[in-house]
Subunit: 96 residues, 2 copies
Amino acid sequence: MADPLSPGRRDVLPSLLPAWSPVPGRDAIRREFRFRDFSEAFAFMTRVALLAEAGDHHPEWSNVWNRVEITLTTHDAGGLSERDLRMAAAIDALLA
Amino acid sequence: MADPLSPGRRDVLPSLLPAWSPVPGRDAIRREFRFRDFSEAFAFMTRVALLAEAGDHHPEWSNVWNRVEITLTTHDAGGLSERDLRMAAAIDALLA
């Protein structure tokens, strides 16, 4: 069971994860990624899938050719938790 | 450049691909798939990605844990084409 994100952590979220945006109407964050083509996009998705399975924390995500959109939230916590912040940072690190 | 689906082929589409549904407001078809867990869902997605790349025809798709939703349409044709029917049949065959 994950704890909801504390108010202090919410305050620093935009500076910790500047590439991620709040999702309107949900306690969740999202980021869109663009690649050269489908092959690059799906290679990225495969790396994210491995992160997700290793951390037992899975994204809501979609793909259209070279675009990937990832939404993170924690169903157990009813919204954002530290697990989302860790996952977002790990995803960002794949592209660093 | 893909040709739009002929009226005759549209008529037989429901019997050719009974598991696929029309997408409201679009000339496209969709199917939802459910698996035991994320690992099974992503294994399926990987096989669909290989089909997509081999056929140079890519789905619009999303995944949430054990669920995968796939939408097929042909942007070049402004809607459904034979390429979508072939892709849908190939995806169905993965699960046969």
